[in-house]
Symmetry: C2
Subunit: 331 residues, 2 copies
């Protein structure tokens, strides 16, 4: 059975608890906007497209509850995490429906369906890029868990496999929260896709010794010039990939593109609590008097990106602004 990060029945958002994986498969039932906000903040649900969909349903639940105005509900859900653009798109999509008197649950359902369908199209568009790339490196989790279904970075891998490609995936473990070893490896293991987990430090070693044919990652926000934010560590992989002539692809639905942002310099980067770095599995790994810094994202300049894999096909960085302008006209 395919992985689904979340699903909705009238009045209840069911969320797979991504903090508990791979040890336990636990599903939370959320009935209030406030619970959805907390699930996003705590990274129970994570990944830019997934948190956009969760927030869309959070708006629908707020409408049902009837205690918050559309503006107050949007503010509550917006305050959870600052970097992923999808969050704001998901919220605004349902807020418009609410303010215009349309059905908010239908609006959230339609938003979810659009994201899932766009991810499937990313898979179709990206699969040919991997036709001759047998060993693919990915960072963090940009799979079904991050996008409700299919994934962004993992969608082309899944489609290429269905078409008979023999792929092997290098999985960066992705400290501090280990979305690679906990979540990406879990998705790949379920589908028996060959893979190996590596410490984030080892990616450069394999890139520089000719053992990676392509890198593919997701994104949390993409600016008009192609600069993009993604999980901390992405920037290093992009620089080292370019240094070694290995193509670097970024896969994302349209909801991740922030057409109003000129470049990556002003993308807000979330800084999370130091305990995520200082402790592991509940055990302190640094001296009691030591502190840590914990930026959750970094910004990679467009010059390191070979191409974006979008629902509309493969887009080279210089064409991002033009593509977004065309999409805006078509809407």
């Amino acid at each position: 059975m395919a992985v689904r990060a979340l699903w909705y029945r009238p009045g209840t958002l069911f969320v797979l608890d991504q903090r508990a994986l791979p040890e336990r498969t636990r599903v939370l039932r959320l009935t209030r906007a406030r619970e959805v906000a907390e699930a996003i903040r705590s990274m129970t649900v994570r990944g830019a497209p997934s948190i956009g969909v969760a927030a869309a349903y959070g708006m629908a639940l707020a409408h049902r509850e009837g205690t918050l105005s559309p503006t107050a509900a949007a503010k509550l859900l917006r305050s959870t995490r600052p970097t992923a653009y999808d969050l704001f798109v998901g919220i605004e999509t349902v807020r418009s429906a609410w303010e215009e008197g349309r059905d908010t649950e239908e609006a959230a359902d339609a938003y979810r369906a659009k994201v899932v369908e766009e991810c499937h199209r990313i898979g179709t568009a990206g699969a040919p890029l991997l036709a001759r790339a047998h060993r693919v490196l990915t960072h963090c989790n940009a799979g079904a868990l991050a996008t409700v279904e299919w994934g962004t970075a993992l969608a082309p891998i899944r489609v290429a496999r269905q078409r008979g490609a023999h792929l092997f995936v290098w999985v960066d473990e992705t400290r501090p929260l280990l979305q690679g070893s906990r979540l990406t490896a879990w998705e790949l293991a379920r589908e028996r896709i060959p893979h190996a987990v590596i410490a984030d430090n080892a990616a450069g070693h394999y890139l520089s010794t000719g053992r990676v044919d392509a890198v593919i990652v997701g994104a949390d926000r993409i600016a008009r010039n192609g600069d993009f934010a993604n999980k901390i560590g992405t920037y290093e992989k992009a620089v080292v990939a370019k240094e070694n002539g290995v193509p670097f692809y970024v896969a994302a639905p349209w909801t991740t593109f922030d057409a109003r942002r000129k470049d990556g310099r002003s993308i807000p980067v979330e800084e999370r609590g130091e305990e995520e770095v200082l402790s592991l599995a509940g055990r302190r790994v640094a001296p009691e008097s030591s502190h840590a810094r914990n930026p959750a994202f970094d910004v990679t300049p467009a010059k390191y990106v070979t191409a974006f894999v979008t629902p509309g096909g493969v887009v080279r960085p210089p064409a991002v602004a033009r593509t977004l302008a065309r999409l805006a006209r078509e809407r």
Copy 2:
């Protein structure tokens, strides 16, 4: 009191258990060469200069035991770890004394004293490089624990501090074994040197946003052309430092230089067990059916090195071969 990784009394090598830090300060007493070999293999004692000194004492203990030939003792200790060149220098130094009928404990003592003195000279030579570098990034542990006393990368930081410099150290946690958060942070915390631990993934973020003035690391083996092996992840930091115009220094005693090796391509890279990546603090963090790869080192080409900090002063990569040839003539 200054940190010491190990010390010797006739018949006993005392080793600070680096696997237990920072939680517990535990000292092991080793009286047999086989125990020393096991302590090196298990990384109870680690860091290229420290394992060279431990192995030198291991040879002296083997001589005392009287059950192994010099060749058999050397073979036992050589088989522990393949990458650090110091290991082989330490073993051969005491083997020569043994075969020539000199006192092996005196030979090991002299080897230790030379390493410690060279590290102190590295500190003196390197401190001026950090005079205007307020924020220094380091990877792994190249401190007193790795070198018996002083450190290689940390020696210039210590000397610069004694001279009144205000330094702040970014400490890469250094997965998979966390020598940064467990050991480097412990050394810095003891001496109240301001520092922050970061996930290895975050180094690029700080390098690219102008918050690192210099990078300084140790080395496990340096070839004649300046290519060098060091803890996995070093290569990525070097590439990203160069990309951002941040100086990248490599500090090492002479025992780390492998004058017979033309370049880095043939340096043996140790691959360790996958459980170091798949488990954290005894808890599995990846699905049961997933596997991992765990290269312990990577090789960084000389072109990324701004300078080597040696006991003989600061040496630019093109001058390494010349410096080593001069040293060989002087011996």
